[in-house]
Symmetry: C2
Subunit: 213 residues, 2 copies
DNA sequence: TAGCGTATGTGGACGATGTTTACTTCGTAG
DNA sequence: CTACGAAGTAAACATCGTCCACATACGCTA
């Protein structure tokens, strides 16, 4: 395969920023291979360090993956944010609200298509059964979630949504876009051309708009 | 962990049904651990056979996983079918159509909750970049897809859907339910109680009904 | 400035996995 | 009955994650 030669044999005994270097290396592996490609030893190799050095910063491979995953999630949020910034509050609040919701969907889907590896990593999980961590309800994607919530709030404020239908609407909207992204990335829409996917995305967001009620 | 003792040291040199035994073992591993838990060596162990024997039937671990995945997909379809059988064509075709669509959604989501490991395995993929297999467009879940199509056709026939909005509606509906399932299995809805999830599922299907237009 | 404690890395080893190459066993076709 | 080929075995290798004991040098204190 690719024999990434170590950049340079660092001269200092201490690396200086190892934890960060490991996550960065992991990120790159995730980018081009998904969660399964995040190899601890390979990360240390790229950092020019012995395998065990990683254990000074992570309890194990799982924890490294977790850090990488976290980084991926923030990229997702960033993508949404970028899309969101494009729509400014015009005179019609309803138009603004609709645009916001669309931005969330498009930013999300767009990232999935642009960075499949990272996207899949972002939403991969450790054994979903063994983390009875009560505190991590908020550990995932609150940023992206908040952006979505924001868009939905705008819908509510502008009268496009009733108070009742606003509740938990995040989950419904999120489900929809996330589902399409996965269908595209690893489902039957695998070979569908990008424009077609985006068109489907548009319809999807419209469906949410109309269907949330 | 669990030290599944070999059932019995078979007396015949030939196993007789090895390929099947391997897939079955793999299925069980998938059930209780997802795709990552499908270990080739472990499968051969459970079949009471040497590791290499597997290579008579599969090119490698990936191919075994693929077979298991395929089995999981058919389970998904079966779950939908079960739900579908519950709704009979009454006098009102629109009611029937709606019930059908709901059945698909509920069957799908229900399976995800009942068999998380298999569900996750069903929708896991090899490196999504390296299978330029043109023939496998239909290799995945056509069964489940067909059931969904059927339900949507009923919607069309009964006048709940326009011809135009019928096109590609599978993908929109599928995205939605699949997305919720994943949010529940490995997303922020991880710890949400089952009733709440089902309630969300109902709302979701309603959203699709209304939003497809 | 000398020394020392400790955070940071190293080295070597272990068990598990996937996979390859060479060999053995045995059902069966001719 | 014999020989061929399908089915399974044995031993070995590379890689991965991880544990243990040990080495290094940074930076604080005396």
């Amino acid at each position: 395969m690719k024999k990434n030669v170590i950049i340079e044999k660092r001269k200092t005994f201490r690396h200086g920023d190892l934890r960060n270097a490991l996550v960065t290396a992991g990120l790159e592996m995730a980018r081009s291979g998904g969660p399964k490609a995040v190899i601890l030893r390979e990360a240390t190799r790229q950092a020019g360090v012995s395998p065990n050095a990683a254990y000074r910063y992570f309890a194990g491979q799982a924890e490294l993956l977790d850090a990488v995953r976290s980084a991926c999630l923030s990229r997702v949020a960033a993508s949404i944010e970028d899309e969101m910034k494009k729509c400014r509050p015009g005179r019609d609040p309803q138009v603004y609200a609709r645009k916001s919701l669309r931005a969330v969907g498009i930013g999300y889907l767009g990232f999935a298509m642009r960075e499949p590896g990272m996207f899949r990593t972002a939403f991969s999980v450790p054994p979903p059964v063994d983390s009875p961590n009560p505190a991590n309800t908020a550990s995932m994607g609150l940023n992206a979630f908040q952006l979505l919530s924001l868009a939905l709030d705008r819908m509510l404020e502008s009268g496009l949504l009733t108070k009742k239908s606003r509740s938990d609407a995040e989950y419904l909207a999120w489900s929809t876009v996330h589902g399409l992204a996965l269908l595209v990335l690893e489902g039957p829409l695998y070979r569908m051309p990008h424009e077609a996917i985006l068109a489907l995305g548009e319809r999807l967001v419209t469906m949410v708009e109309r269907g949330l009620n």
